[in-house]
Amino acid sequence: MSENYRNNFLREVEEKVEEGHWVKMCMQCGVCAGSCPFGPHWAHPPQEIFMMIRAGKREEVLSSDSMWMCTSCYQCIVRCPRKLPITHIMHGLANYAYRLGLSPKKQPTQQFASMFWNNLAQAGRVNELKLSLGMYFKDGFAQGIKNAMAMQSVGLGMVKAKRLNPMELFAPHGVKDKSGFHAMLKKAREIEDRRKNLA
């Protein structure tokens, strides 16, 4: 309890979380909470998360799955009377929680999000087939087959419309300068970690 309402966590967020320095500007009007299309699914809406950060509720915030509800629709950003970049703060918190390993395990969007990144980071471009299959098989092979069967109609429809290419598995799209691309991302990560005293 002694952390209660100390600014330690607020300072941590300001230092390490994308756009975290905005958190202190919230005036608790709640327009973000009311504007989010997935609002009802948030255990703690953005404005409440901001208050929790000021109240020093570190664990509760970072282990919450609320941030993972964000679909980047930007509704909150355009309505915020204090112009807080809420979408990015949510992404930033999610990313930070994930890096600390505090984010809820098996949070599906989190799995998808990291899968998506790894997918693009590999080839420089997204491989939609691998991505979808990856998603289906994230909970193991049997479940994967089930998922794949369930979505078969969709998949086939896509193939028929030439909008999903089985060959992607073997001859995927990608950037040519893979080494440069990888080096670039590696470097970017290094710098970010240095700036935010991460890792």
Partner: protein, 298 residues
């Protein structure tokens, strides 16, 4: 009007045989008809979309777009960058704003780009194809080229999120942008008023939490139907894909009987300008846009 040339950023989903390859095809046809030349950014990479955040983090994500912009500056100098995908445009423009706003961010990004032998200066604007149509042409100008007006077809202009917020098309409101409706009218079609025009389709959760996104999709289609739409038109590949391909799933989940075509503005223009169904990539529809096909036959 004089020929226009842009540095083109198609994005992952608009590659050939990718989920919105029909967007690419119809865009290319549309540009031919409008005398727009698209110079693809060589060796462009994924923008990271907004979903990349978990693993990606801030700087790596921004660097992705920085690389594309750097490549464009290098290979397609003196042009605006134009994207067709909402997410690609948003990420690129957002990245550009942050890079240009923060000298440190720019320095850091360039430090990373150096590894790929590239440098970002910030010479070019990042625009969406819809902006080009609205701002560089304008509805009256676009109207002129119409050969086969889309007479009597009722469209629900579905703008969605990322072409609309936080930047949107200049002079448009976030809650009720009118440019798609005007575009539809310019092509001789009829635009219906409905209340889900800017509702999020939940694309980001389509894979991970389908029940959530499909609720969104249902609301959107329902409202479009209730207000008399027979076709939906959108500027965003993710919106298009979600709203079209999951209709079967939605019907299963909610016992509905939706079967409404979801098209791109580029397909409308191509058809209205006298392009063929093939040029408009109508064969790329999973739910056939028969009314458009009929007109395209003329």
């Amino acid at each position: 009007m004089a020929k226009k040339t842009f540095s083109f950023y198609p994005g992952c989903s608009s590659q050939s045989k990718a989920s919105s390859s029909n967007y690419l095809t119809s865009t290319q046809s549309m540009c031919k008809l409008l005398d727009i030349e698209l110079k693809e950014i060589p060796d462009w990479n994924c923008c990271g979309a907004s979903i990349g955040y978990a693993e990606g983090g801030e700087l790596p994500r921004i660097t992705l777009s920085a690389r594309n912009l750097a490549l464009s500056e290098k290979n397609n100098p003196g042009m605006d960058v134009v994207a067709t995908c909402a997410a690609c445009w948003l990420s690129t423009r957002e990245a550009k704003e942050r890079l240009d706003h923060s000298t440190q961010m720019k320095a850091d990004a360039n430090e990373a780009l150096k590894e790929a032998g590239l440098a970002y200066e910030g010479k070019q604007n990042a625009r969406h194809m819809a902006e080009v149509l609205v701002e560089d042409f304008g509805f009256d100008e676009l109207k002129k080229g119409v050969k086969n007006p889309l007479q009597g077809i009722k469209f629900a202009g579905y703008v969605g999120c990322q072409t609309n917020r936080p930047f949107g098309i200049a002079g448009e409101s976030f809650e009720n942008p009118m440019y798609l409706d005007r575009l539809v009218e310019a092509m001789g079609g009829e635009a219906v008023t409905y209340d889900q025009k800017v509702t999020c389709c939940g694309g980001a959760l389509a894979f991970s939490e389908p029940e959530k996104s499909q609720k969104q999709i249902k609301d959107i289609i329902e409202s479009a139907y209730d207000h008399g739409a027979e076709m939906i038109v959108t500027p965003c590949p993710l919106c298009q894909a979600n709203v079209e391909i999951y209709q079967g799933e939605v019907n299963k989940r909610y016992g509905t009987k939706f079967n409404i075509p979801v098209t791109y503005y580029s397909q409308l223009i191509t058809v209205a300008y006298g392009g063929s169904a093939k040029e408009a990539a109508l064969d790329g529809q999973i739910i056939r846009a028969t009314r458009l096909e009929e007109i395209a036959k003329k």
